[in-house]
């Protein structure tokens, strides 16, 4: 598959293009990490992150490609791994202190939110994640999810957010009570 074919697929939100890129460049990209003091797991993680960043940019139409996809991915991987090495060295130099309770609380809330999203219907999940993460337009979402039109998508999005909000509120309070 050529780069422009891949980009065309991604712009339609076709995730098989992601699989293709993952397979095609796995070895090349993980090598960056593996040959720079990283483990296989870290290498995989960096490449996945990079690919997802690329996906996000490409699917939302915020990407103007001036280079080959492989070059682009390579530079993201390189940057991500540099950042990670940086973070690691900072962590080892810093003493961890305080704020653990607050962190715990935030983690707990994040966990509950994940649960609630998981409990949403399939359409809501897709609609909201396509909109907020992939950055797809309401028009594209309406097309992909076969809604009648953009307005239907907007209305559904509003309802889904409302539903998620209610789910979180009820469950977060519940957990508070249990604590």
């Amino acid at each position: 598959m050529k780069d422009d074919e891949i980009l065309a697929k991604i712009s339609k939100g076709d995730e098989t293009a992601l699989d293709y890129l993952y397979k095609k460049y796995y070895r090349m990209m993980t090598k960056i990490v593996l040959s720079n003091n990283g483990t296989e797991e870290e290498a995989k993680d960096v490449f996945q992150e990079a690919l997802i960043v690329f996906w996000q940019k490409a699917v939302s139409g915020n990407l103007v490609m001036t280079s080959k996809i492989s070059t682009f991915l390579y530079s993201i991987c390189l940057n991500q791994w540099r950042k990670e090495l940086d973070r690691k060295s900072r962590l080892s130099n810093e003493e961890k202190d305080g704020e653990e309770f607050q962190e715990h609380d935030a983690e707990e809330k994040a966990r509950i939110i994940q649960e609630c999203i998981g409990d949403l219907g399939d359409i809501c999940k897709k609609l909201l994640t396509y909109y907020y993460f992939d950055g797809m337009s309401m028009n594209d979402i309406a097309e992909k999810l076969q809604f009648a039109n953009t307005d239907t998508a907007k209305t559904k999005k509003y309802k889904c957010m409302k539903r998620l909000d209610l789910l979180i509120r009820s469950r977060y309070k519940e957990e508070d009570f249990l604590d």
Binding site: M1, E15, L18, D19, Y22, K23, K24, Y25, Y26, R27, K31, L34, S35, T39, E40, E41, K44, Q48, L51, I52, W55, K109, A110, I113, Q114, C116, I117, G118, K125, L128, T129, Y130, Y131, Y132, F133, D134, G135, M161, L164, D165, I168
Partner: protein, 307 residues
């Protein structure tokens, strides 16, 4: 500006589409309006959660993408064959089954010094061997851009024939008549039967650009029956020696040549081992524990079986 308008601004803020002017308006309102701040926090938590959810979903998807191509080189998948050829990746699978009764292996100097064979008896009393997955050992990459590198598997006596490789598919087991050098380690006897298989070479070549074939690397595989369950190996002068109880239990050598170097894995009694290549020391076989790698190797072996 009405409340609804501010909610709209929050939405724009969270999707990164807010203008600088509106951002300033929103921020000053947030500073004074507690309930709007709460609304902002709720929305922002949900959006972060949704982003995280989607990211995890995509990662799970990627985790499930079969990687036999990416990790282990390229084999028989037409879409990537060309890439494989250009980056110089070739894979050979060698399945072997060895029986030993009469002769022993070439005694490498190290064997004498390290005495791995006689140590089998002692090892029997040793506690379970703790296998440990070492960080993957990168073998020196050769400059093989636009060249195909092959490894040939030969019996001790068979000649290396580089020019034959692209055409030769699978040497029949009967054709190989291995002759081993005079044994010096008397207690080991060998009677060797080879089953050698090379898979995918033609596929890899089929769509490739003209390829200059590098001198193939000879790997000779010998094994010795040991009395212990301890499995050890050694590379000496480009030959692989296996020490351990391989008697009557089939095992397979998975040899992967890529531009990143040579990787060799051994499959024996449902366990995959990674061989660090080249290592001149006699080493204990390391179990492969990385689950991703394991599933790649399984797929790889299955593909080989299908071919």
């Amino acid at each position: 500006m009405s409340n609804t308008d501010f909610k709209e601004l929050i939405e724009q803020y969270l999707t990164g589409t807010i203008s600088d002017g509106n951002k300033a308006v929103l921020e000053s309102k947030l500073a004074s309006d507690v309930s709007l701040r709460a609304e902002m926090k709720t929305q922002s938590d949900m959006v972060s959660g949704l982003k995280e959810f989607r990211k995890a979903e995509l990662k799970t998807r990627l985790d499930n993408v079969p990687l036999e191509v990416g990790v282990l080189g390229t084999l028989g998948q037409s879409a990537v064959v060309k890439v494989a050829a250009t980056v110089g990746t070739a894979i050979l699978l060698v399945g072997g089954m060895y029986y030993f009764s009469e002769e022993a292996v070439d005694p490498a100097p190290e064997i004498g010094q390290m005495n791995p064979i006689t140590s089998f008896e002692q090892d029997k009393t040793a506690p379970d061997i703790a296998f440990k997955e070492l960080p993957s050992v990168e073998t020196p990459a050769k400059p093989v851009e636009h060249k195909q590198q092959f490894a040939s598997v030969t019996s001790t006596s068979s000649a290396t024939a580089a020019e034959d490789i692209p055409d030769v598919a699978v040497p029949a087991a009967e054709e190989i008549t291995p002759t081993f050098e005079k044994p010096t380690v008397a207690e080991f006897e060998t009677d060797v039967e080879f089953e050698v298989e090379a898979v995918g070479k033609e596929d890899a070549l089929a769509e490739s650009d003209p390829i200059e074939i590098n001198k193939p690397i000879d790997i000779e595989v010998k094994s010795e029956a040991g009395n212990s369950n301890k499995l050890q190996y050694q590379f000496y002068e480009e030959r692989l020696y296996l020490y351990g109880n391989f008697e009557e239990i089939p095992y397979e050598i998975l040899e992967i040549n890529s531009k990143d170097g040579k990787r060799i894995y051994l499959f024996h009694q449902d366990v995959y081992y990674k061989l660090s290549y080249p290592t001149k020391k006699i080493s204990t076989l390391e179990k492969v524990t990385n689950e991703d790698l394991l599933s790649e190797l399984k797929i790889f072996r299955d593909n080989k079986a299908l071919n």
